[in-house]
Amino acid sequence: MKLIGVSHHVAPVELRERMTLDLEHAAELARSLGDAVCLSTCNRTELYVAGEADALDALESLAGEPLDGTAYVLHDDAAALHLFRVAAGLDSLVPGEGEILGQVRDAFEAVEPGPLLDRVFRQALAVGKRVRSETAIGESPASVSSAAAALAAQVFGDLKGRRALLVGAGRIGELAAANLASRGAEIAFVANRSAGAARELAHRFGGEPVGLDELGRALADVDVVISSTSAPEQILRAADVPAKRRRPLFFIDIAVPRDLDPAIQQLESCFLYDIDDLEAVVAETLAGRRAEAARAEQLVAEEAERFRNWRASLDVVPAIASLRAYAEQIRAGELAKVNVSERERRTLESVTQQMLNKLLHLPTVRMKEAAAGADGATYADAVRHLFGLDDPK
């Protein structure tokens, strides 16, 4: 198994926004590589590949530039450990950030990976859940969406009675809107390219659905704008923002590529925060989470060890299976030679089966233990040789 990716640790937003894929395109890319999963969020684009496909080439095509020195490449256990840390939110700028777990699940479920990737992703999802339930890492409000709401409160104080415009139906945007609403703000308008999605979200928040061509009208009547579309170009320019206002306007641009013209920040009483700004603010407030992150790292390390043992056991599993098949073959052959009643046969079947299981239990356990160390292959060879499992029958 191989992992190749870029993340907020090594790549600026300008590069990441070129490499970000929606779920459908990410799954398409993964399928084009054979047995692979593509995890693409605003913070990272990572390819987990079980085969020999050239994942670096695929990433460089997305980036439009060579990624030497930017992309990281990890193999086998290191790749699994990385994925576990990602799913647990430990690789996020906000330790314990919860949105990534859903994104990992979506990426995994969008494709049908082979047994190795299936196992590692299922375990990653379990790790993410375990970390959240066994540590307090996810308890303080330190996600990008809650930071967006906290920043809006920094401008307006109490958000009761403040009106917000939600542009796009992105998940983080929706979460940010929910955070604003939980602080008393009113999601007055929901704009989206798809009228149906706008109607559905507007219904959920009790707002009015509007088209993207009606943003100007909505802007005149709101205090906060949250934008999280997947549009490839800017949807709002500084010139579109009403110049004469008595109230500040707070813009939250969670989209990658960015939806809002950065020049909006230069307008009087306008404040614009993009995804990088939000993450920088969140990083500032995370001392408490970091203490919990140390405990979470221990859990992740335990799970990584379990994965390593499982993967090592793959060396001895064929030998164990052959040994059991050989023993079963002997048992069945000897039973066939006995001429007894049907009732007596059933008794003999049960007794011999139990004998076989008891006899093979300890060798099976010992082989798996050896596999967890470095001796798995040696033991497997020894069993094959001692029982003549590779001999022509």
């Binding site: 920094q154 104080g157 109490d158 407030t285």
Partner: protein
């Protein structure tokens, strides 16, 4: 006795002026404000006990009282952790003005006033209380501008500061609370002036101008940077009134 009280007060204010610069020493700064203010309160009490009339009728004496009012107003709510930076604006000014008051003899005991105590309490007391409010409002406006620029620059530690809207609202409320005090103080002064048959001097004219500016502020209730600049502009008039013109007025 007043010497024994002046220095602890100045030391407390001076310590606070520096200690507010760091979040680690802001608790010590708050204690400096409290101890300094208590010492100054005792100083004023000693001055009042030793005086045969209103003891702060001179420009330096009124400056002493002004500092006490400013720090007292700040103590009401300004010591909260989120308003630490307000202390950084208020306390150096308070310490400096307190030192100026001493240089002018305003912290000595046994002062003598030309006017009746009742008139001076009403006129000087109310005008100074209003000026103290305007000083706090200016500090809030300064904090607003500073925080707004931090938001514009997307500073990462912004969530430790008071909300921008709170600063704007507090600035307006402080001015709205202080303006009636100035109005009453001015009326008392003008009534006295008419009785004496005098005309407006430069300080009085400037104070009327200050009243007009703050009156417009309260009525029109500007927002954002405009409000902050207006509050600071009014404070500039207060400073000129307190430092440049008050000596002639009290002569």
């Amino acid at each position: 006795m007043v010497e024994l009280l002046f220095w602890p007060a100045l030391l407390g204010y001076g310590e606070a002026a520096f200690a507010y610069a760091s979040s680690r020493t802001s608790n010590a700064a708050t204690w400096g404000v409290r101890i300094g203010w208590l010492a100054q309160t005792a100083l004023l009490a000693v001055q009042a006990a030793n005086a045969d009339a209103f003891p702060w009728g001179s420009w330096s004496g009124s400056l002493n009282l002004f500092v006490w009012l400013v720090v007292g107003a700040y103590l009401i709510w300004g010591c909260r952790p989120r308003f630490r930076l307000l202390g950084l604006a208020v306390m150096p000014l308070a310490a400096a003005l307190f030192a100026v008051a001493r240089l002018g003899g305003g912290t000595r005991a046994g002062g003598h006033a030309h006017y009746s105590s009742l008139f001076l309490v009403v006129h000087v007391g109310l005008v100074l209380a209003a000026f103290a409010g305007f000083t706090l409002a200016a500090a809030l406006a300064g904090l607003y501008l500073w925080e707004e620029s931090r938001l514009k620059r997307r500073a990462t530690n912004i969530l430790r500061l008071p909300p921008l809207a709170s600063l704007e609202r507090l600035t307006w409320r402080t001015i709205a609370f202080s303006l009636p005090l100035l109005t009453l103080g001015l009326i008392a002064g003008i009534v006295r002036l008419r009785e004496d048959g005098g005309s407006l001097d430069a300080l009085e004219a400037l104070t009327v101008g200050t009243w007009l500016l703050y009156g417009a502020f309260v009525v029109r209730r500007p927002t954002g940077r405009r409000a902050a600049y207006l509050a600071l502009g009014g404070f500039a008039l207060v400073i000129v009134a307190r430092l440049a013109l008050s000596a002639g007025h009290f002569a």
